[in-house]
């Protein structure tokens, strides 16, 4: 999976940027993205779906990535509300397996990554052993 958009320079100013270090930060991130969606008139089902996807990915950043950062921005081309979670952790060695429901290295259910991909309107991931992980999620407005 390759990113085809949104280097920091192209995407312009972030609407907000938060640290992702603790599980309280995960709550702050999902609540912030829910606020941003509601402020743009998103319906409850869309808010819940996307905020759930963000919660899954943000938790991965904290638990598996050793912490990182969270940013919200608008994609000028599509008008989507976008979220980026990135860390400088170990990265994911076998992405295909990690995306499969039921596979987990962290003692969880292993539904997080695949679930987030299903719940978001856009999903992109860049990762690899020793490269950290960067996930971009997008919500159609």
């Amino acid at each position: 999976m390759r990113l085809h958009s949104s280097s920091v320079a192209e995407r312009g100013r972030d609407l907000l940027r938060l640290p992702l270090k603790t599980n309280r930060d995960v709550v702050a991130a999902r609540q912030a993205v829910a606020r941003e969606l509601k402020a743009r008139g998103a319906r409850p089902i869309r808010v819940t779906r996307f905020a759930t996807a963000v919660s899954e990915i943000a938790r991965n950043t904290v638990l598996h990535g050793g912490g990182g950062s969270f940013a919200v921005f608008l994609d000028p081309a599509s008008g989507y509300l976008m979220v980026e979670c990135r860390d400088a952790g170990e990265g994911i060695a076998d992405l295909d397996r990690a995306m499969t429901d039921g596979y987990s290295t962290g003692g969880s259910m292993g539904r997080g990554l695949g679930g987030a991909k299903r719940l978001a309107d856009r999903f992109e991931i860049e990762t690899g052993p020793g490269k950290g992980t960067r996930v971009i999620l997008g919500a159609r407005l």
Binding site: R24, V27, T48
Partner: protein, 118 residues
């Protein structure tokens, strides 16, 4: 414990309202606390989790609720989840989470009535 309101004992059931700012740590602590109380206090027949304040239930919170329901069942108590928002139900199904050990009820009144019937 933030993220979780006080635990109240009503008619042999432990009632808890989970708040929207609940963290992973809070929900694990809640699971421990409720398990202890079911085991140690006499005549507790049920646990009622009010999740009406929750805008999201992700795989972690869903898994802890499912585990709590499993623990409670082993300790001869039933777990009811009440107040689930429609958007949360839709999302849980998309995540493949069906909370099999817990029963859902539309309101606290319904949950308590079902507990009385046994």
């Amino acid at each position: 414990m933030s993220g979780v309101a006080a635990i109240n004992l009503v008619e042999n059931a432990l009632l808890v309202s989970i708040q929207d700012d609940v963290t992973d740590t809070d929900i694990i602590e809640l699971q421990d606390t409720l398990s202890q109380r079911i085991a140690l206090e006499e005549n507790i027949r049920g646990v009622v989790l009010d999740i009406s304040a929750l805008e999201i239930v992700d795989t972690f919170v869903g898994r802890v609720i499912a585990q709590l329901a499993g623990i409670a069942r082993l300790l001869d108590a039933q777990t009811f989840v009440v107040g689930m928002r429609p958007a949360v139900a839709v999302t849980l199904v998309e995540l493949g989470m069906y909370l099999p050990e817990s029963r859902t009820a539309l309101s606290l009144t319904h949950a308590l009535a079902q507990l009385k019937r046994g």
